[in-house]
Symmetry: C2
Subunit: 455 residues, 2 copies
């Protein structure tokens, strides 16, 4: 941008996606002002923040790597190589996430966010404004109306060449856009809410469960999961219906909570003695999916959850938001300006975001129900065998989403085709008892997949 006035960008939201975006755009030479309604996270302790775990996988790492930050954030994550399923008696079965060595990383939102803010704020052309809430945006004038939350009398307008809403699922920037003509918008909640439980280290001050697995207690209509933290605790999350015969609504007393844990999470009762207290102390939150279009109006743009909030069951919310930033940066490189990149950004990412939103909803059923089913595990074994024997021709959909940068919509499409083949294979007489030798798998492959044969 030599010889030209430096263009300015306002990013609303200094969370994970907003900070990553500031890093990418700062590196491109824009003046970036980040407005964040919360206090400066660099002077906040983890006790003051809500602990939420995220699963960082390849798309997220890819964006961090592009900024040279892979090593800088590596130590905030713990690798998880497999799902560990806890049945109702406490017995464990395992299902690897990928090939040997492939892992998703349990990351504490707070730690990663703090790291990204610290790095971004060091750039000479990136400025953070904390305790500053953007209330609305004037799309025509490209001006944001800001309230200083330390002194709410202090309100002002801030203008820029570009404004980004990285302000999450309940984005104020998006609310301003929603009032425009011809803005398509959808928000819907699933019937389940969630509640977090903290699982302390055991008496030997070690993790109370295997720390290199993502733990699941699949119970059909609901489930518990647990992700390890670096401090040797786990964050457990119960996904449970709001209403109905067995639900947040139906469990009202400490006795009912204890009975519920005793029945469904027997192996947690001993290691989490305060589960009933936590049930009443910790909030119950809802799970929303948001879809909208357009994402870009007059150089005001949405990114991350503000553009596409999804349910957490594929562990892709942050990864998708990071990929938004990475793709946008690639397009700026390709098109020369942010202005030229934005229309391409929304077209490319809208398709991907819609696909991962649908995949995330579908994966809830897999996690809470299918993973507890022996036929499902057999299916996954056949799939893994195909992937091993025909690595170029069969890449499991889960692998495409989690361990590659294939567009989500392409992963969704091949997943549907794979489902079609696997459903046919699962009808083969005796498949339940068959030994999955290479020869047998190769025969299945040539009968069903290579030929595209219909039963």
């Amino acid at each position: 941008m030599a010889g030209k006035k430096r263009e300015t960008v306002i990013v609303f939201g200094g969370g994970l996606v907003g900070s990553l975006l500031a890093l990418f755009l700062g590196r491109r030479g824009y003046r970036v002002d980040v407005y964040e309604k919360r206090p400066d996270i660099r002077y906040t302790t983890i006790e003051e923040a809500r602990s939420i775990n995220l699963a960082l996988s390849d798309r997220g790492w890819n964006a961090l790597r592009a900024l040279g930050l892979e090593d800088e954030v590596k130590d905030v994550g713990l690798p998880m190589y497999a799902r560990a399923m806890h049945d109702i008696e406490g017995n464990l079965t395992y299902q690897p996430y990928g090939k040997e060595g492939q892992a998703i990383y349990s990351v504490t939102r707070f730690s990663l966010n703090k790291r990204l803010v610290s790095i971004a704020a060091q750039m000479p052309n990136v400025y953070y404004h904390f305790n500053a809430r953007i209330n609305s945006v004037n799309l025509k004038r490209k001006e944001a109306h800001v309230t200083n939350l330390l002194n709410t009398e202090d309100e002002y307008n801030a203008g820029a060449d570009y404004i980004f809403g990285a302000d999450g699922a309940f984005s104020n920037i998006r609310s301003s856009m929603q009032r425009s003509d011809r803005f398509d918008y959808q928000q819907f909640y699933i019937e389940h809410g969630y509640k977090e439980f903290h699982l302390n280290p055991n008496e030997a001050n070690d993790w109370a469960l295997e720390n290199d697995k993502l733990h699941i207690w699949p119970r059909g209509t609901f489930m518990m999961i647990a992700l390890p933290n670096p401090d040797k605790s786990f964050t457990c999350t119960l996904f449970f219906p709001f209403n109905g015969p067995l639900s947040f609504e139906s469990i009202k007393t400490k006795e009912q909570v204890s009975e519920f844990f005793q029945t469904y999470f027997k192996d947690l009762v001993g290691i989490m003695p305060d589960h009933a207290d936590q049930y009443f102390r910790n909030p119950t939150s809802s799970l929303v999916t948001v879809k909208c279009f357009p994402w870009v109006m007059n150089n005001v743009a949405l990114i991350g959850d503000a553009a596409h909030a999804i349910v957490p069951f594929f562990g892709q919310g942050m990864n998708c938001g990071f990929e938004d930033c990475f793709t946008l940066d690639q397009l700026v490189e390709q098109e020369g300006t942010l202005e030229a990149a934005l229309p391409k950004y929304q077209l490319s990412r809208k398709k991907s975001a819609d696909a991962i939103a649908d995949l995330a909803l579908a994966n809830f059923i897999e996690m809470r129900d299918s993973v507890g089913n022996p036929r499902f595990l057999l299916r996954k074994k056949i799939e893994a065998g195909f992937h091993r024997l025909f690595p170029e021709q069969w890449i499991p959909m889960y692998t495409q989403v989690t361990f590659s940068n294939v567009p989500y919509e392409d992963a969704l499409a091949s997943g549907r085709l794979q489902d079609h083949y696997l459903s046919q294979i699962m009808e083969v007489p005796g498949i339940d008892k068959a030994e999955l030798t290479d020869a047998y798998l190769t025969q299945l492959w040539s009968d069903f997949v290579a030929e595209g044969r219909k039963l």
Copy 2:
């Protein structure tokens, strides 16, 4: 409500649905305060208002009849007994809406609204507040925040036992509800917008087209329609894509407008000489569908377009809103109180509103495309024959929606079944040339419908 404090209701929106609701609830003894942001319509002339035509049909009449208002509004409508299709050369074909004597009524929104306000405002317990905009609602406190638009410094809170949002497709009450947890919401626009044209009376001061028909110029991807007004003019509406090779975007000069009319609406050119001026003078508007749930939160409720904005292609927007009021009133009768009626109201009407929203979107394709197709007209003739011969067993879906009070969702379900049978019948060899005698129709009936036979 003898011996009890009179319960209070705030209705936001003094339009058609808000005023009808005030009439129903006023009659039940509630104190009703209607807040309307526009000036008092009783002192407004039609020139100051935008002229919009509506089609009043049985569901609307049914609600008016329940209030004893059938005769009071009869003179604001003109009956239309058939669709008159104008082909590209100006040739006409006709398709009756129902049986002989069945008609839908072209009504000027302004006249009907004025009539309803005049009647409602005469009730001793109904109070209208004009130039009063409700900005938001505090759902917990059941309090509306109101601005007096004649003096915008004058803002106040108004509380009531019940608050209704009858404030249309862009409802402020709904916006307040949308910010609540677990509120499902969707708004989406179709690719077409609309523009109105005024067709003056002819030189003999008579209607320039037959005044007892709804006129359609079906052109595949777009269409014009015309509805008669009591002053012997017509209101024509062009439904046309916003973008694309032939669209509002592509037609930019007066010459292009004239060429467009000359090509597609030849028979309008002579009788509407100022069509090009009107094209540039009159606004282009968009068409939104809104779906949401819940409609009721803590005795704050949505009704009419605020709960379920639909596209206008089935002519059911107002009729559906009037049926909302009628159903709610019936439920108050049945349940004893408005509080007990509201949960049943939302469950019953949500299903119906979703069904008519989908039917209205589908009917656009019928109107703009199918009605110009001889095979579609044949299909309609076979259907009319079945209805004549087996009047209890076959009631066309259009008739169920327009000339009955069958729930919309039931009409949708039988329409799907009818489509299934008719699609099979249309594949009978020689059906295009067959004479539709009673004997032949009876044979078709027994072969395809009575047996539920599959081809």
